[in-house]
């Protein structure tokens, strides 16, 4: 009975792993095929599709990187600041505000987008609305990650020590707290970047032709162009996302302050 359980265990692990990883590998191969129909390489291989990806979507990739980096910077500043404030208080109404600030994680992206279209359509053309959507959507993530870390006993002690030695709140924030939460902030920042990079639901309703992001471009390439180009574009996305994710895991392994897998 024990053996059967163990075999089933292994079997499940293998099946799920294959299910998740195999299509990615196939996509990578497919991006090099001249014609991907019922088979992949009978017509030959080519790097052409990658050229086409950069031709059609070069702007898009740059714009996405700009948006995602800006989102990270804004949220690191805002999130850490806010988490610091919350870690020091324990009022009931602060708890309520904490829940409100975590709302964007619970509200569906399409609702956020629909709401933003109705109120801020003037900044849509410049791409700022997409930035706003991304910042709001990813804020709770970084906020909660840093807050979780700050709430552990050691930080409170650290902060109170510095205060008792005469440091002002401003000084404490920049010279005591920030350095200590570095790894939580970094881990949160990477997650924010990844989520912003792949964000589709909100951006799909907010983009304009000049402000397309990578996921919208992926959608575009898979539907209006062809699967080989879509695959090549996906591989570009993989090249950005996989190393970042890898770094994130390495970070979480080494930090002793992680909660909930860093998420």
């Amino acid at each position: 009975m024990q053996m059967v359980g163990k075999v089933l265990n292994y079997f499940l692990v293998v099946i799920v792993s294959v299910f998740l990883i195999l299509p990615i590998i196939i996509t990578i191969f497919g991006s090099f095929s001249v014609y991907w129909g019922t088979d992949m390489f009978s017509s030959g291989t080519t790097l052409n599709w990658y050229k086409e990806v950069f031709y059609y979507y070069g702007n898009t990739i740059l714009f996405t990187l700009a948006i995602s980096l800006s989102t990270v910077v804004i949220n690191v500043i805002l999130g850490t600041l806010t988490a610091y404030v919350f870690s020091k208080s324990d009022h009931r109404w602060m708890n309520l505000i904490e829940e409100i600030l975590s709302l964007p994680m619970a509200i569906p992206g399409v609702a956020i987008a629909l709401a933003l279209i109705q109120t801020h359509s003037m900044i849509r053309g410049s791409g700022l609305l997409i930035l706003a959507g991304h910042v709001i959507f990813t804020f709770p993530l970084l906020f909660r990650t840093v807050l979780g870390t700050l709430r552990t006993k050691d930080f409170k002690i650290l902060d109170e020590c510095a205060a008792s030695l005469g440091a002002t709140p401003f000084y404490r924030f920049f010279h005591v707290i920030m350095p200590a939460v570095k790894s939580a902030v970094l881990s949160g920042a990477i997650m924010v970047f990844l989520l912003s990079l792949g964000e589709f639901n909100i951006t799909f309703f907010l983009y304009t032709p000049f402000t397309m992001t990578l996921p919208v471009g992926l959608f575009d390439s898979y539907s209006t162009l062809r699967i080989e180009i879509g695959s090549a574009f996906t591989v570009v996305f993989l090249l950005l996302a996989i190393p970042l994710m890898f770094t994130l895991h390495k970070l979480n392994q080494s930090s002793t302050f992680t909660r909930n897998g860093g998420v």
């Binding site: 129909g37 059609y56 990739i61 279209i117 304009t208 539907s223 062809r226 950005l240 080494s254």
Partner: protein, 358 residues
């Protein structure tokens, strides 16, 4: 750890450089539809935004390119479909982003109803047939195609290429036929209209059409919600009922193993129109774009993209030869657009109730 961060930075940098590099050479995402960019002028470039201008549809990429050559005005690509275009125009009524909109003819009256377009009669306006334009000039046909079967012969394998609507009902085509969901994309409605007329129905009598659609549905039809040309090129959907020019493009430009078939019992023409958007941010550039689209130069480019120009111009012989013979196209009928628009709501209700099994 530091090495990894270094590697990532190099990767991101490389990808950015590659993106930059290819941008400086030939920056011109093809979307045929005009993309609307509300007020973005890049340096000395002028801009017109057209909604629904995907590069690979109806040869818009070439049109935008030639337009830029001639006038210096850049029209970026945009991949909205007709429905999304009209929605965007309505949503942006107070802050229009687009200058020009391109969509299926059924949307013309809707756009007028919603007051999002303005009249513009370019010098070629009079050459367009009456039925295919708005009398005030709020929309006008620029080219048309026909509903046809786009067949991926490699995906079919040994199964013969279907030649008629009746063929599609046969068991050997089970799970191999697809057309866009009418509740999600306008061309789906055109497909249904085509088969209704082919089966002997009319705009007032949809029974023959629905009888056929119910039977066809038993054959496991696939209904994508958005453009599926990539899927037919791959063979995911071996037989896609769609606009013929998508099939020609797949065959001649993408070198896919694809054949275009006009069904024996008949089909309909699908005209596409453009409008000048009300309160367009770059009105002058938008007008020039419409002029170019209707000029000889523009119309020939559409012919090269396998769409039939609306004006009577000379098409180069080698392009003409790529189309199916003229007698096939005699089976493609015109449709009363206003009637088609009127009965659409009823059609959608019937479609949801009768054809789609809950």
């Amino acid at each position: 750890m530091k090495k990894l961060v270094g590697i990532i930075m190099i990767m991101v940098l490389t990808i950015s450089l590659a993106a930059c590099g290819s941008n400086s050479s030939g920056n011109n995402p093809g979307s045929t539809s005009s993309t609307a960019s509300s007020s973005q002028k890049s340096d000395s470039e002028y801009v017109a935004i057209a909604y629904n201008n995907p590069p690979q549809w109806a040869n818009w990429e070439a049109v935008q390119s030639a337009f830029k050559e001639k006038t210096g005005i850049k029209v970026p690509a945009d991949n909205k479909n007709s429905g999304q275009t009209l929605t965007a125009l309505i949503a942006e009524k107070n802050n229009p982003i687009a200058d020009v909109a391109y969509y299926g003819i059924v949307f013309g009256p809707k756009a007028v109803e919603n007051d999002v377009v303005q009249p513009y009669k370019s010098k070629y306006f009079d050459e367009i047939p009456e039925k295919l334009k708005d009398p005030d000039g709020k929309w006008m046909t620029i080219h048309y195609g026909a509903i046809a079967f786009i067949v991926n012969t490699q995906a079919l394998g040994d199964v013969p290429v279907p030649k008629s609507w009746a063929d599609l009902l046969r068991p050997e085509y089970k799970g191999k036929v697809g057309f866009l969901d009418p509740t999600s994309a306008a061309v789906g409605y055109s497909v249904a209209t085509a088969v209704n007329l082919a089966m002997g129905g009319s705009m007032d009598d949809w029974e023959p059409g629905f009888e056929y659609l119910r039977k066809l549905e038993q054959n496991q039809v696939i209904h994508p919600k958005t453009t599926a040309t990539a899927k037919v090129i791959k063979g995911e959907i071996p037989i896609l009922i769609d606009a013929d020019f998508n099939g020609y493009k797949a065959k001649y430009n993408d070198n896919a193993p694809v054949e275009v078939v006009i069904p024996q019992e008949g089909t309909i023409k699908v005209p596409y129109i453009v409008s000048l958007v009300k309160n367009a941010p770059h009105e002058q550039e938008g007008k020039e774009y419409i002029d170019f689209i209707l000029s000889d130069e523009g119309q020939v480019l559409f012919a090269n993209g396998f769409v039939r120009p609306i004006r009577d111009i000379d098409i180069p012989k080698e392009t003409e030869e790529k189309f199916l013979p003229a007698e096939d196209y005699e089976r493609a009928k015109d449709v009363d657009i206003s009637k088609m628009n009127e009965v659409e709501a009823d059609f959608i209700n019937r479609w949801k109730a009768e054809v789609i099994s809950q």
